[in-house]
Amino acid sequence: MHYIWKEWKENIKGKGLWLAFALIILVSISLLFRSSALSFDQGFYIHLINLFDAFVYFIPILCLFLGAFSLFQEKEQKTLIMLLTRGERFTGFLCKKSVAIQSVLLGPTALWFFLYLIPLKFYFQIDGAAYLAFLFTITSLILVFTQLGVFVGSISRSRMQIVGFVIAIWFYFFFLHDFLLLSWLSNVTYDNVKLFSSFYFLNPLQAARIYLESAFGVYSFEHMSKLLQSFMWLKPSLFLIGNVVLGILFSFGAGVVFQRKEGSQ
């Protein structure tokens, strides 16, 4: 709790957190005005999918930066060294720090989307389960990319390194991962489609999108071909949960193993 409070106080002094929230609020409101012409019944789903499509462009990179700089600040201000000399283990520190950063990001985001329901109610017919699925999707993206940011902060020695790593990770998930799969696509057969599918769902952006669309019932997985049936060898929700768990564990583990305690400007 102490870590969360400290993290909150540090973040509200900086610009990063405010920028992230301002973007989320601005995009949600502007898209709501644009979607107001949609039908009352189905407009809700279309609006949430449009919102997700917009968030995909900035939530990952913002979370990466926020996670990375938040951890790096502990190195810059020498608080990390002080904590470690007092007997705190790095694993424990990273765990508490991760929980603190995630809470500071997720808490106000959840609060905003709770308030956001009020204007939504005026425009559309609300489907509570679909809205929860949307929140779960956004939460998953924040969890995975913030934890990856924490990993970047843990292994970086300078702010420049952080910028380099973050852009590389963002570029990989945004472009390169799918590009590699697209290049592989012509060789995908019934025999290797499960392997292909595993790689496909390692991308949190794709796992989140498929989960969201299937949870809304707009992306139907009924009457699938044999190939597609093999591709979807788990439920979309399990693919997303697996992705989040793996992403967090990997980032945390790698952050502990490849940590660099010293940082410079």
Partner: protein, 438 residues
């Protein structure tokens, strides 16, 4: 003996006075049978037991809570006489048996000139079934199926079989196998219906000269599938959010001379999917924000695309399977391709000064691999296209020789022209001023 007689007497009274499930059914059927042609029966605000067969030209009018509940063994209401009218009631409980020789429905019509108005149908295999029935009107009715998980176990919202000259209007169909199924049905008018969460909103086989106007097809596996049919008119319909894997707004398969005019195709996996179709005129439609705007197979020939707004689709047009003989303009008027294809119109005639040509490398992947649809929303698609552009693996998807320029683009081009003129004039004045100083 006396005791036995007394016991028999008591048992008979008990048996006769016990409510029988068929009593109510007999009641409604008896009430109907007692009517004469042209009579009207006003039903009460209660549940009547079916099934019933109507053999006289009568009118049945229900109230808000009037329900006719079938015994799940056949059709709930069978209409065998002409000029029957049924209004304001709920019908439920037809047989769901898929192995019987007959396909059952909430209301099955075998005759002509009937009207079904403001009827709600639930828990039935088909909603309303027109079997060799002509000149009927089905309107303002709500048909609800079993939902998406049960698509294979149920029938269609409206099933039109060998039935001509009917009008189907203002109906709402949700969660059935196909919203409307047409089989050998000609010259019907389908107006302002709303169909959602079905397999195909409209499934259409071997039926000619029908008119579809103002209908909305949303969140179906496929919006409308028109197959093996000629002379169909589709005007002012909305195909929205038909979004599943390989879904489509409108499929034309082996159809001839279809007119597709003033429709909206918005947020579909594929807006228009045309295969083995001939002579369609696709005019003045809005094809916006689909994954693939138009998927056109080479087996389709002589389609004309003119005056359409084809904008903000991930892939505007995918021409697959080779080159077909299709035209992207008519009488010197092409289509509006939006901001993806910026163009200039210096002569201000509303037609771009150069042709629009779209090339893509995705055609082979789309032809060979169904999983490619999973990537269409990925930003990596743009990178893939760019890279293949350098490797010359592209193929021309369409060439529009007379692309339309929107007012916004014209305004933008004018502003550019004014800007260029202003800068040139400024430079000219500056140079003259400098010369004077020298």
């Amino acid at each position: 003996m006396k005791k036995l007689t007394f016991l028999f007497f008591i048992m008979s009274i008990i048996l006769l006075s016990a409510p029988r499930s068929s009593l109510a059914e007999d009641d409604l059927q008896q009430m109907i049978d007692a009517l004469h042609d042209g009579d009207t029966l006003e039903l009460e605000d209660k549940t009547y037991e079916g099934n019933i067969i109507i053999k006289k030209s009568i009118e049945l009018i229900g109230k808000k809570g009037t329900v006719i509940r079938g015994d799940e063994s056949g059709n709930v209401i069978s209409i065998e006489a002409p000029h029957v009218k049924i209004r304001n009631m709920t019908v439920s409980g037809s047989s769901m048996n898929r192995n019987s020789s007959e396909e059952y429905a909430g209301i099955k019509i075998y005759s002509n000139h009937n009207v079904i108005d403001s009827v709600t149908i639930k828990h039935s295999f088909h909603g309303i079934y027109l079997s060799q029935a002509h000149h009927n009107r089905i309107e303002n009715s709500h048909i609800t199926g079993l939902g998406k998980g049960e698509i294979a176990n149920q029938g269609n919202g409206l099933h039109i079989y060998y039935a001509n000259d009917n009008i189907l209007q203002n109906n709402v169909i949700k969660g059935s196998r196909d919203g409307m199924f047409f089989d050998y049905a000609n010259r019907n008018e389908i107006l302002y219906n709303s169909i959602s969460e079905t397999r195909y909103g409209l499934h259409y086989m071997y039926s000619d000269d029908n008119v579809f106007e103002g209908n909305t097809f949303t969140m179906n596996t496929g919006g409308a599938a028109i197959m093996h049919s000629n002379g169909i008119k589709l005007e002012q319909n909305e195909f929205i959010f038909n979004y599943g894997h390989k879904s489509f707004g409108l499929l034309l398969l082996s159809s001839r001379d279809t007119l597709i005019q003033n429709n909206t195709f918005f947020l579909n996996q594929r807006g228009l999917y045309i295969d083995q179709a001939t002579g369609s005129l696709v005019k003045n439609n809005r094809i916006i924000k689909n994954q693939v705007g138009i998927e056109l197979w080479a087996s389709s020939n002589e389609q004309i695309f003119t005056l359409n707004e084809i904008n903000e689709n991930t892939i505007p047009v995918a021409s697959l399977g080779g080159e077909g003989r299709n035209s992207w303009s008519e009488n010197g008027i092409g289509n509006n391709w939006g901001r993806s294809f910026p163009m200039i119109d210096l002569d201000q005639d509303g037609i771009g000064d150069e042709e629009v040509r779209y090339q893509s490398s995705l055609h082979q992947l789309i032809e060979d691999q169904e999983l490619v649809y999973l990537f269409l929303q990925s930003p990596a698609i743009a990178v893939y296209e760019k890279l293949n552009q350098f490797l010359h693996k592209e193929k021309t998807m369409f060439t529009d020789p007379y692309p339309l320029v929107t007012k916004h683009e014209r305004k933008q081009a004018s502003l550019i022209l004014i800007g260029v003129l202003a800068i040139s004039s400024g430079l000219y004045i500056y140079r003259r001023y400098k010369k004077r100083l020298l």
